[in-house]
């Protein structure tokens, strides 16, 4: 069963990733960067909302030892800030939301690619 974790903001994201890396150094880590959800549980980013069920579905085919981390990058205004840390961090360098990354590889899916079940499955099955 894929382990599913959540992180909100950059600091928490870093902590969660390093914990997972330490615990399971050889397991695959998939990270979905999304616009943060508000009190109603809905993200402000419509593409992220669309992608979520697709990714949930594809996760059923992910390898058993994989970890999936859902990361909220903040509200709309903090994301639109060109100095948003998620945009600047050299390991992440986000350019759009949602972005799905296979951690430690060059494999990433950008915006509409995240709500295409075929491409998401390819990411998990690889």
């Amino acid at each position: 069963m894929v382990q599913k974790l959540k992180a909100e903001g950059f600091e928490q994201f870093q902590i969660v990733v390093s914990e997972v890396e330490n615990k399971n150094p050889n397991g695959n880590i998939f990270i979905l960067f999304s616009g943060s959800k508000d009190t109603t549980g809905q993200s402000w980013c419509p593409d992220c909302v669309e992608a979520e069920p697709v990714i949930e579905k594809a996760l059923e085919s992910a390898p058993e030892d994989a970890t999936f981390i859902y990361v909220g990058v903040g509200d709309r205004s903090s994301w639109k800030d060109p100095n948003c840390v998620f945009r600047l961090d050299s390991k992440i360098k986000l350019t759009c939301l949602p972005t799905l990354i296979k951690w430690g590889t060059n494999k990433r899916l950008l915006d509409y690619q995240c709500n295409n079940l075929d491409t998401v499955l390819m990411m998990f099955e690889d």
Binding site: K107, R108, L109, Q113, N116, D118, T119, M122
Partner: protein, 675 residues
């Protein structure tokens, strides 16, 4: 059209051939019979063969006609029409002159092959000169013989003989005999509409376009590891072991030059600035990795099935694919596209494969190559030597004879001398005969023994030996014989017509494996896209293989489009070619005071075509960027006057082309002095 109305035309054709004066009576009769059976095959004439032959035999006395008294069987009129008619109505059409020994040679060739030819002897007709002009317009070839086979322009004597030797002539003859292509039966169900073998630039372009047009498509791509075990992802040579990493390493070298220039522009750069091989390779490989992934995503998005498996023919419509785990699968396809590309060649000498590497390995080499020998004079050898030297690697190039065969030789030598001035050692006239490992390691030490023409031996130690002596088409291990696809026996390349169609109607080929075409990524992409549009989108456009611009990324880049000076002279004759040229010094190097007059520009013009520019050559920094734009001028038929009318952008290198006013024939000094 009724049988009756066709008959006079038919006999006219027979008569015409009989009047040619080159076919002997015996072979003549043979060819007549062949023509008859050909027509029968096409079911356009309902008469019995016997009946026809007896009628034809009645015509044999016509053989009394000779070329000198040749009746004007082709009516005088529009010379373009005359040319087109001869080409259209005859399998083999030759425009010739009775006095030309090369024309005789070509006619003898066809005669020896017992082939029927239709000839117009230009020197026996009043409108001969007009027809020759029409031929020049149509083919760009002014000289005779001018040979056409199956409607396709073959060229002069040399190209005809070459076509006979490399299988192209046979290919065109078979094709023109086959008549209209039989439609593939619709009731056969295949797994795919199109299977592409090879996921390089051309294969990917074709597969994506075909899928967009609704075809069911699969791409088979499998990288056979190099002898030292290097392998890579989806995308083919360009992305993984060619253009992309090459240009990035070229950039690394240019930055090195810029760092030393920077001091002269006031930057406080420490003298200790050193290059780190690992950082560069990691950066480049990370970029390539993201491209590999991007291609896979693109295929998946367009519903192209990507099979990471080695494909080989079982029969013309069936392929066996073998994946990394040796699992075999059989797939069938209505159309099959060969896009397998090429791989570097190793010389057949002891130690080459064991201790040598190639361009397939250098871009991901996990260790600094150390002192490096590059064997070969190809653009790949020179580019690799250039960037290696540029990042501080001790580089030697071993060259058997000339540099950059096939490219403009004046520029090739200028490239060589520039590289020699910039720290690259050349060993001309030598070929390696043996490699021996002296010490293992990363890199180890290799003793290279080489030999010159007179048998003198040379021994030297290197850390890395890179072979760049040529590339071979990957057509020898895909069971191509089971599909009966014709290859040029000399180079293993696939013989195709202008539609990239092989002799097997449902099998096509594009990219580096195409015989007689250019080995360039954008050419393959264009061919792949247009082919897919023709197969699945009702397209009619053919890939235009003429005037394709290209650039060699040596330290000083060399951009060209059109003909080399040698080829222009061969095609138009030295008297009809005018070359305008100038050396040049980019403004940017004036401050560091280096490379004075190392750049060079020339335009090759044809006098009789209103000084139409048929060759454009530039040796300078950023030559690729300069050449791309000017190429459209050549495609549109720009003349020297058009270049003169163009206003330059100051200060640039490219502006030199707007002010070229010294001809090479004048012998005047073209060294640039001041602004």
């Amino acid at each position: 059209m009724s049988t009756r109305s066709l008959l006079p035309q038919f006999f006219c054709a027979v008569e015409r051939r009989l009047t040619l004066g080159i076919a002997h009576r015996t072979s003549c009769t043979k060819t007549v019979i062949r023509r008859v059976s050909y027509l029968k095959q096409k079911s356009v004439i309902a008469l019995t063969r016997r009946h026809l032959i007896s009628d034809i035999q009645g015509f044999i006395p016509c053989q009394r006609y000779t070329t000198s008294t040749m009746a004007p069987v082709i009516p005088k009129g529009d010379p373009i029409q005359i040319v087109d008619n001869l080409i259209k109505n005859n399998r083999i059409a030759i425009f010739s002159k009775t006095t030309c020994p090369f024309c005789t040679k070509v006619k003898e060739l066809f005669s020896s092959l017992n082939l029927e030819v239709a000839v117009i002897e230009l020197d026996t007709r009043d409108d001969g000169a007009d027809i020759q002009d029409a031929l020049l317009q149509k083919t760009g070839q002014k000289t005779v013989p001018n040979v056409f086979v199956g409607g396709e322009h073959l060229g002069g004597c040399d190209s005809t003989i070459a076509a006979h030797q490399n299988g192209r002539l046979e290919f065109l003859l078979n094709k023109s005999q086959a008549g209209p292509k039989a439609e593939m039966p619709d009731d056969v169900k295949y797994d795919y509409d199109l299977v592409v073998i090879g996921g390089g630039s051309g294969g990917l372009a074709a597969s994506k376009e075909a899928a967009l047009l609704g075809a069911k498509v699969a791409v088979c791509d499998f990288v056979v590891p190099t002898p030292i075990g290097t392998t890579w992802g989806l995308g083919g040579t360009c992305v993984n072991v060619g253009c992309i990493p090459k240009k990035l390493m070229h950039q690394a070298a240019i930055l090195g030059q810029s760092i030393s220039d920077a001091k002269k522009f006031g930057w406080d750069v420490p003298d200790s600035a050193k290059h780190n091989w690992h950082t560069m390779v990691e950066g480049i490989q990370a970029h390539i990795g993201s491209l590999n992934w991007g291609y896979r995503v693109a295929l998946r998005e367009k519903k192209v099935n990507y099979l990471n498996a080695f494909a080989e023919f079982v029969d013309p419509h069936t392929l066996k694919t073998t994946d990394k785990k040796k699992k075999e699968t059989t797939i069938t396809s209505k159309y099959i596209l060969l896009a397998t590309g090429g791989r570097p060649r190793y010389p057949d000498i002891p130690g080459a494969r064991e201790y040598g590497i190639t361009s397939d390995d250098i871009f991901s080499l996990p260790y600094h190559p150390g002192k490096t020998l590059l064997v070969g004079a190809s653009y790949i050898a020179l580019e690799c030597a250039g960037f290696l030297a540029g990042i501080g690697v001790d580089s030697t190039v071993m060259v058997r004879s000339i540099l950059l065969r096939g490219f403009d030789q004046q520029i090739a030598e200028l490239i060589g001398s520039y590289m020699a001035k910039h720290g690259i050692r050349f060993q001309r006239g030598y070929v390696p005969i043996k490699l021996e490992r002296i010490e293992e390691g990363s890199p180890g030490r290799i003793k290279v023994t080489s030999q010159n023409e007179v048998g003198e031996l040379l021994e030297e130690e290197y850390n890395t030996v890179l072979f760049a002596i040529g590339r071979d088409a990957c057509t020898n291990n895909i069971g191509i014989e089971k599909a009966n696809v014709m290859l040029n026996p000399r180079n293993g390349k696939v013989i195709c017509d202008e539609k990239e169609q092989t002799n097997v109607p449902h099998i096509y080929a594009i990219g580096d494996i195409l015989d007689g075409k250019l080995e360039l990524t954008p050419v393959a992409i264009q061919a792949g896209r247009l082919l897919a549009k023709r197969l699945f989108g009702g397209g009619t456009m053919l890939t235009d293989y003429v005037n394709v611009p290209t650039t060699v990324f040596t330290p000083l880049e060399y951009g060209s489009v059109g003909l080399s000076e040698e080829d222009a002279i061969a095609k138009y004759g030295a008297n009809d070619v005018e070359v305008y040229h100038s050396f040049l010094t980019p403004l940017e190097v004036a401050i560091p005071k280096r490379d004075d007059n190392e750049g060079y520009a020339k335009l090759i013009c044809v006098k009789s075509l209103n000084e139409k520019v048929v060759g454009f050559h530039i040796l300078s920094p950023n030559a690729g960027e300069i050449t791309q734009g000017f190429a459209i001028g050549l495609k549109l038929g720009a003349t020297k006057a058009d270049f003169d009318n163009l206003i330059g952008i100051h200060p640039t290198i490219a502006e030199v082309f707007t002010t070229l006013n010294t001809t090479k024939s004048s012998g005047a000094d073209v060294l640039q002095k001041g602004c």
